[in-house]
């Protein structure tokens, strides 16, 4: 594997991880913008805009875009998170130029009013689809409860009301603020031709103008919160917990990832043995999400509603006991290995490599190879985990329960 990087005159950074043995390449534009960068009255615009990029530029319409993706056999999609919006595809090497051309054109959308109106219907459908999915409803309510007024608590989807009220002009304004070339990365992995890519992208983006781009990082003071909401439409209890973790810029994040697995992986963790093995909860898991300048642990418990108090109490006891007594060397070494192997296996394909290496670079301006990732995972010590636990992350937790019956609240 060979890392390549260049910054064009307009501020667009192109990074590549070349693998001549690959049979394909994966390529994507990563915009350093998401729900947390939305202003008041713009809730949901990042995600709606992501849909609108597929509607075309001044030179190409939605149906032509869709046809071009299919003509080149691209495996493509896009996603929006709190911090990043990404447009990507994987193709065979002979289609590099067409995929690059297509994605680059999409980055300069026409945002036609008629497309905006039709797509609004699709967004409203997507929001309603998620209203039927309890894990999403839970997470959407938990995040703002934990982050309060901090922008990291802002919803990706927005609400039916915010989307209905959103105008094309507001979207255009957001787009101009956030989609300047100096806020984008073009990342490519696999069997690509670097020189051809540079020449093509330089030409295609020559009119793109850099802009001054910021992001707010207000202080966030996690609070102890415990709320229960009545969710009549669901049949089981869904409980979420959030606690402070470490940021993507923080080298301790590898340790925090392993710690979260020890406590809450699906099949052999502290929470599993306390709650799932005993048949008390169908799901009891904990994960760690390192984000830009902040991070959090989040836990999910799913159980029979009548068991909710017991399950929550037992889960909290597990977290407190880990905090008080630490973890063992055997646990560390098992999960280190598991995480390292999963990293290696995910790296088999260019598509699997694109996201870890591009997302690392986006926030850290650092290339982390697969080998370096594995080394960092294996270098974590028991002392590192104990230091993370000494911060007592689980003392200030936000807990939210969704319960199907108000009688149980």
């Amino acid at each position: 594997m060979n890392f390549q990087q260049i910054e064009l005159a307009n501020g667009l950074t192109i990074i590549g991880e070349h693998n001549p043995q690959a049979k394909s390449l994966a390529l994507g534009y990563f915009v350093r913008s998401g729900a947390r960068d939305e202003l008041e009255g713009e809730s949901g615009v990042s995600h709606f805009l992501e849909h609108m990029l597929f509607k075309g530029s001044d030179n190409i319409g939605a149906l032509e875009i869709n046809r071009e993706f299919d003509d080149i056999g691209a495996k493509s999609n896009a996603f929006t998170s709190e911090e990043v919006t990404c447009y990507y595809g994987a193709v065979l090497p002979e289609q590099q130029a067409r995929l690059t051309g297509l994605l680059s054109q999409m980055m300069r959308p026409a945002l036609r009013q008629s497309d905006f109106d039709t797509e609004k219907g699709v967004i409203l459908e997507e929001i309603q689809m998620y209203q039927d999915q309890p894990d999403i409803v839970l997470y959407d309510a938990l995040r703002p409860l934990y982050y309060g007024h901090h922008p990291s608590g802002q919803s990706i989807l927005g609400t039916l009301e915010s989307i209905i009220a959103l105008t094309r002009e507001q979207m255009l304004d957001y787009y101009r603020r956030r989609y300047a070339p100096n806020n984008l990365i073009l990342a490519v992995a696999g069997a690509y031709d670097w020189q051809a890519l540079l020449e093509q992208v330089t030409l295609l983006t020559k009119d793109w103008q850099p802009a001054e781009i910021g992001r707010l990082y207000p202080n966030h003071q996690p609070r102890q919160v415990n709320e229960a909401h009545f969710a009549e439409q669901f049949h089981q209890a869904y409980i979420g917990m959030m606690a402070p973790g470490v940021a993507i810029q923080d080298p301790r994040r590898y340790g925090a990832d392993i710690l979260a697995e020890i406590i809450g992986d699906d099949e052999n963790s502290r929470l599993y043995w306390a709650l799932v093995d005993t048949g008390l909860a169908e799901t009891a898991s904990l994960g760690h999400s390192p984000e830009d300048q902040s991070g959090h642990y989040s836990a999910t418990l799913v159980c029979d509603s009548e068991q909710a108090e017991l399950v929550l109490a037992k889960a909290q006891a597990v977290l407190q006991s880990v905090q008080a007594d630490g973890v063992t060397a055997a646990e560390l070494s098992r999960f280190q290995r598991k995480l390292a192997v999963s990293t290696v296996l995910r790296g088999e394909t260019p598509y699997g490599r694109l996201f870890p290496f591009a997302l690392d670079y986006l926030d850290n301006r650092e290339y982390v190879s697969l080998e370096t990732t594995v080394e960092r995972i294996m270098a974590v010590t028991l002392q590192d985990l104990n230091d993370l636990l000494a911060l007592r992350p689980f003392d200030t937790m936000t807990v939210l329960s969704l319960r199907p019956s108000s009688a149980l609240l």
Binding site: Q21, A22, K23, S24, F54, L63, N66, R67, F69, D70, D71, I72, G73, K75, S76, V91, L92, T118, K120, G121, V122, L124, E125, E126, Q128, M129, Q131, D132, P134, Q233, F234, H235, Q236, E267, N268, W273, V276, D277, T278, G279, L280, A281, E282, V302, C303, D304, A330, R334, F335, R337, K338, A340, V341, S342, V344, L345, E348, T349, Y351, G352
Partner: protein
């Protein structure tokens, strides 16, 4: 290069070499799914009970042993099979096979561990109430198949309540057997050594499993399940060509044109032009000896009727055939997936499994490529004109009931 071996006890081993990979992916399919289970839910409970201690390991020691190998794993019960899949670094494969030997042949099936397994199965079944699309398809498959292909591995509360240790131990002895079991594997391995390891750990295993015959289906009806969900879930099932039929490649290409890509007909007509849905799809769901096409759309109550009517119009239009560009896009999409699957150990292991389930043999990538390349537009359009997708089984779930007359079906009617 694909290697395969049939052991005398009925176990089939198939392995595709990808010597450049660091890892290996594998999956066991054991013919102990829900189709022939003694009580509804037995297969799911047995599957999780087997995980709770085997050979010299108690429940926790077994999971520790798996994790010490860095094994990424999954298991579950389906209609025909219980499946056990794993992926890890190539050097650890022999140790993993030894552990799976314990898991499949020597599970403790300790009575004290059974109750939590049953309790979790009850909760899984309750969870279906909170997953409207899954709930719809459990009901639709049960209505569409008159044969056992329509059973749900989630079982029933009553079935789960009646399970006993004796019944499940007997079921394990009768159905977790090598006859009808496949071990498929892809990645880096040494074939002679692999053969010897599989022989060592599974050679003494005995017994013959039962496999489903060709499916029997029922179609031409519409049923509605009332539910207070935000969206209306729409599901359709059509009988479709069997994998071994001469129509298989034309059918696969036609369905990719219908629903496989961004520019496919359903995406274009239902989502792009009309903004009726976020999700719409038509997916082939073949079984051995038979085909089925599963169609799904999720939409708000006020758009649901129009969505159903547009689906009807698209299935009518299908019989008029594809345009040349549509066929070529479908072909490029499938060919690209085929090439990309060679980069991934898990994709190739799944490809081998699927071939065995559907074709009872293993197709090389070249054979599949040739199959796709040779199909002409005339052949696809001849198939669509002749086959004519009509009279589906239709079910909806949600706050409003729909009118299926666009499909020529009155409510509750059954052909």
């Amino acid at each position: 290069m694909i290697y395969s071996h049939h052991f005398p006890n009925g176990l089939v081993l198939v392995a595709e070499a990808q010597p450049w990979q660091a890892g290996v992916s594998f999956e066991f399919l054991v013919p102990a799914g829900a189709a022939f289970e003694p009580l509804p839910g037995a297969a799911t409970v047995l599957d999780s009970w087997c995980q709770r201690g085997a050979g010299e390991y108690d429940s926790q020691a077994l999971q520790n042993a798996f994790d010490s190998l860095g094994l990424q794993r999954d298991n579950g019960a389906g209609v025909q099979y219980q499946n056990f899949s794993g992926a890890l670094l190539a050097g650890d494969l022999p140790a993993a096979l030894a552990l799976y030997g314990d898991l499949l042949l020597r599970p403790h099936l300790d009575e004290a561990e059974l109750e939590p397994c049953i309790e979790l199965a009850h909760q899984d079944l309750d969870g279906l109430e909170d997953a409207p699309a899954d709930k719809l398809f459990v009901a639709l498959r049960a209505g569409f198949y008159q044969s056992r292909h329509g059973v749900s591995a989630l079982g029933s509360h009553q079935g789960l309540a009646e399970l006993t240790p004796e019944l499940l131990r007997h079921d394990h002895a009768a159905r977790v057997v090598p006859g009808g079991t496949l071990l498929a594997l892809a990645g880096r391995f040494d074939w002679p050594a692999l053969l010897a390891q599989v022989e060592q750990h599974f050679g003494d295993w005995q017994g013959q499993g039962q496999l489903l015959g060709a499916p029997v289906t029922r179609q031409g009806f519409y049923q509605h399940i009332s539910d207070e969900s935000a969206q209306v879930q729409i599901g359709l099932m059509y009988p479709a060509p069997a994998p071994t039929s001469r129509d298989w490649y034309p059918y696969s290409l036609a369905m990719t044109a219908l629903s496989g890509g961004f520019a496919s007909r359903l995406m274009t007509e239902v989502r792009e032009k009309r903004g009726l849905v976020y999700s719409v799809s038509a997916s082939p769901a073949p079984v051995r000896g038979g085909g089925a096409l599963q169609v799904y759309a999720g939409t708000a109550p006020e758009r649901a009727q129009q969505t159903l009517d547009v689906l009807a119009a698209e299935f009518d239009r299908l019989s008029l055939g594809l345009e040349a560009g549509e066929l070529e896009r479908a072909r490029v999409g499938l060919m690209t997936s085929l090439v990309m699957s060679q980069e991934s150990t898990s994709a190739r292991a799944r490809g081998l499994l699927r071939d065995w389930q559907l074709f009872e043999r293993f197709r090389s990538l070249d054979e599949v490529k040739q199959g796709l390349e040779q199909v002409t537009l005339g052949e696809v359009n001849d198939f669509l004109a002749r086959y004519h997708f009509r009279d589906p089984a239709i079910m909806t779930l949600g706050p409003v009931e729909l009118d299926a007359t666009a499909f020529g079906i009155a409510k509750g009617a059954a052909a």
